[in-house]
């Protein structure tokens, strides 16, 4: 995979956050709007978004897909500060076709850290992602989604998000090791 792509950094931050004014792009409608209300916001409607959240779901009839559908409204309400981009089924399939290693792992939630991308583009750390489709039961998927939403909210103002994520992952790994040693039941997530 290419390691050089850095995207177009000029439009990553909304103008409001960058100190400029005016719309950042034309009001194109999504090719296949989802939900009961047509998207009408631009990034200017978000004060100073830290993240861009992308939901990629090609529509597998899975527990994770159902859980995401049922809880999306709550996720959106909890993340009002950051824009959420929902790819249509066709857009998701087209994207996944070019990244076959993601097949069966969707719904995929990718979170781009605008602060990190402003610093170094996509060459290094620039966000995090959840392969919700790897969760096999509704309970696992819901727990993963809740943990993800909590992580987003609690780390929104983090100065060094990468370090905090890696620390959390290490902590999870250590917790897993302790559980094994203590012969506890498998953890609900990733167990």
């Amino acid at each position: 995979m290419s390691r050089s792509s850095r995207g177009s950094e000029s439009s990553r931050r909304p103008r409001a956050a960058a100190g400029a004014s005016g719309p950042i792009k034309a009001q194109a409608k999504p090719s296949e709007p989802r939900g009961v209300e047509i998207a009408s916001k631009t990034e200017n409607d978000y004060a100073t978004p830290r993240f861009r959240i992308f939901i990629i779901d090609s529509g597998w009839n899975s527990a994770a897909h159902q859980v995401l559908q049922e809880n999306f409204g709550l996720i959106r309400d909890l993340q009002k500060e950051d824009p959420i981009y929902v790819l249509s089924k066709e857009q998701s399939i087209e994207l996944i076709r070019h990244h076959q290693d993601r097949i069966g792992r969707e719904p995929l939630i990718a979170v781009h850290d605008l602060a990190a991308m402003d610093r170094s583009g996509t060459a290094g750390f620039h966000g995090f992602r959840l392969h919700l489709g790897l969760m096999r039961t509704p309970q696992q998927a819901l727990l993963a989604l809740q943990n993800f939403a909590r992580f987003l909210s609690t780390h929104r103002h983090s100065a060094d998000l990468e370090a905090e994520i890696r620390t959390d992952l290490r902590r999870e790994g250590l917790a897993g090791a302790i559980e094994i040693i203590l012969h506890h039941e498998a953890r609900e997530i990733g167990g």
């Binding site: 194109a28 999504p30 209300e37 959106r76 620039h126 966000g127 090791a177």
Partner: protein, 68 residues
């Protein structure tokens, strides 16, 4: 001799237990990273694609209440 043999069995069992522990921890670590991980240079392609879709106006912030 029996004492030596029991020592040998204990060492083997201990090694097996340790091996299992290492294997299980590594398996869980990999599983966790499969589910949740950072985006880095390996994900640059898909990130650039998504950012491109936003920049071109193909994607707009979603304001719907549900994913129907």
């Amino acid at each position: 001799m029996p004492e030596r043999f029991s020592d040998f069995v204990a060492v083997v069992m201990g090694a097996l237990a340790l091996g299992y522990l290492v294997f299980e921890i590594d398996r869980r670590r990999r599983k966790l990273h499969d589910v949740f991980d950072v985006l880095d240079a390996d994900d640059a392609n898909i990130t650039a694609r998504l950012e491109g879709m936003v920049d071109s106006g193909e994607l707009q912030p979603y304001a719907g209440a549900t994913l129907a």
